[in-house]
Symmetry: C2
């Protein structure tokens, strides 16, 4: 008689029933090689990348979207996903996996493996590995780890036949600089969440003290869109794949801010850029929302980060199809200076934005 299975094996059995041809079941997944492939890794950690208490289904979608945006910036087609998840015992694994698998299915992406582990419950005093309880050895619990929720996703993408890989290093002087969508809205959403806004059961609740906003219908709607945009970004995979079919294009996805990511693109290409801040595409109601939040729209658009749109360059005579909603925001220069054109004058655009190691 087979012994009763504990939580981990039971969850894995449940998961395998939901995968069409399960790859899970060995120490590693074996994948076929059909050509060169792209690999990207990103994490979402409670209290670092999102506010604790986020709906785990939203977390699953965000984790995947943020990673897919990196594949979009390579012009790649998503193929396989690997998940490492550490969560407290009360974490709703099945809700998380249902949302992750549904999002994977929408992108024809296969969840092919991963690693699950348990952190001590939030508020637990923290088990120490006391001798005597050997048959169920205690994890090395400590208050520091109580309630840790950390999810890391590795994605593997492939190249469409006839496409190149899209790189950061292909920008050339004279190329137009484009942005694949609006900038700053996600950062406004992050500010609202920091002030107490939440997305629950598909609806955005604005911060409790901001009830007056509800009387200004358009402002409240812009705020709700910003929260949703922050939590559920839309990776620009189709745009990236279109760019990868063009003879000359360079791209990066805006995760850390237009300013910082433009510096990275220019650095890899050995060029500079001139940005026209008036051309930055902004979401409807964004300026009013910034006024209400007490922040400067152009600063948020250039330095807010987590926009997850593509920042890219194309030769002057190549224009992306209107369906992608892109906007030309400047031009690549031979001089390595990265600058803003304001009132006809040039000023340096600093590499502002999110620095994952020093800011905060």
């Amino acid at each position: 008689m087979a012994p009763a299975l504990d939580g981990e094996d039971r969850l894995l059995r449940w998961l395998r029933r939901r995968l069409d041809r399960p790859l899970i079941g060995d120490d590693a997944a074996v994948l076929p090689a059909t050509g060169p492939f792209a690999v990207t890794v990103d994490s979402q950690i409670a209290g670092v990348h999102f506010v604790p208490g986020l709906d785990v289904a939203v977390l699953a979608e965000r984790l995947l979207a943020v990673n897919l945006s990196d594949l979009a910036a390579m012009g790649a087609i998503p193929s396989y996903a690997f998940l490492a998840l550490t969560a407290a015992p009360d974490f709703d694994h099945r809700r998380f996996f249902r949302a992750l698998l549904a999002a994977c299915a929408r992108h024809r992406l296969r969840l092919a493996g991963g690693d699950l582990s348990r952190s001590p419950a939030a508020g637990a005093a923290g088990a120490t590995g006391a001798a005597g309880s050997v048959a169920s050895p205690a994890p090395i619990g400590s208050p520091a780890s109580a309630g840790v929720l950390a999810a890391t996703l590795t994605l593997i993408g492939r190249r469409r036949p006839g496409s190149r890989w899209l790189r950061r290093g292909g920008a050339a002087p004279g190329h137009r600089l484009w942005l694949g969508g609006t900038a700053g809205e996600s950062a406004a959403g992050r500010l609202l969440i920091g002030a107490g806004a939440r997305l629950a059961a598909g609806r955005v609740a604005l911060p409790a003290g901001w009830a007056g906003w509800e009387k200004r219908r358009r402002l409240a709607a812009a705020a709700r869109r910003a929260v949703r945009r922050h939590l559920l970004p839309q990776p620009q995979l189709a745009l990236g794949q279109w760019l990868a079919r063009q003879p000359a294009a360079a791209a990066i996805d805006v995760s850390d801010g237009v300013g910082r990511d433009l510096h990275r693109l220019c650095g890899e290409s050995g060029v500079g850029a001139r940005v026209e801040p008036d051309q930055l595409p902004l979401a409807a109601g964004f300026t009013a929302l910034c006024v209400a939040l007490g922040v400067t729209p152009v600063e948020l658009a250039l330095g807010g980060g987590e926009d997850y749109v593509l920042l890219f360059t194309l030769p002057e005579d190549v224009v992306p199809p209107t369906r992608f909603g892109c906007r030309a925001i400047g031009r690549i220069t031979a001089s390595r200076r990265v600058s803003l054109i304001t009132g006809g004058a040039l000023c340096d655009l600093p590499a502002i934005g999110w620095d994952h190691l020093t800011r905060g």
Copy 2:
């Protein structure tokens, strides 16, 4: 003039100088396909997988070793590594990366990409994303995330020409069951660490209250070896690659305990097993160490976990070279029962060991 680089870009520049042909610099790494490949993912999180305060160089080695053990169980040759690391501002990134790169070099493995992020400092009150500090948008800090240290490694391995992939599903009735090294010692090390033992500057300090052990020289030496074995496991890559050249072999790496992992191997193969507990290879001084710790040696050997040796099966006439130090511990049966032979009688071997979701 290029603007001053902040921490993240500066660290990445430092890192790129240390990689022979840097792959870092795009949104994803592009890897050549030279045949099918194996992918595995594992995390090390402070307070979950190790005691906070662990030397970050030891953490780097452990992270890699634990992941390499999965590739060993596939018979794979390591090729590429991708790191996702979240750490507090005072984390010594350069010490961590020096150790990781040195360990990668020993295994001819290339660090090919990853993701870095910052958690609030331990003890920080936790920044909330207050409006007004937009140019340096605060991470969504909270006390729950203070001092989080989470490292996830994704490894990609390839198959040696003329080899198979080693799988869990190939065990057949009549095959001998083998263990690639001693079991239980790592769990003894974990118990000692839970009681206060530490590895610092290459030396193991035993728990303060256990000074009397120093008078029993052999016991203290066994305890120090156990701590070292726990923190710095040795993945059995050469054994795995040898097994992958044999016509019939099945394998799993013992991460969660011989009992639990044997159930997994048998489950994937549709067989059972009989284990002779007297044949379990034990480290020198292990039994005395268990007595001193107040635990039962065979329970620790069967259920302790984190041994990171290979548990494998071979046809009766195939014996691994003695240099690998393997020991036959039982036999595969057609009956799906997994049992222990004790005193001539059979009793069920429960799937004891580490369950990542329910135990602790």
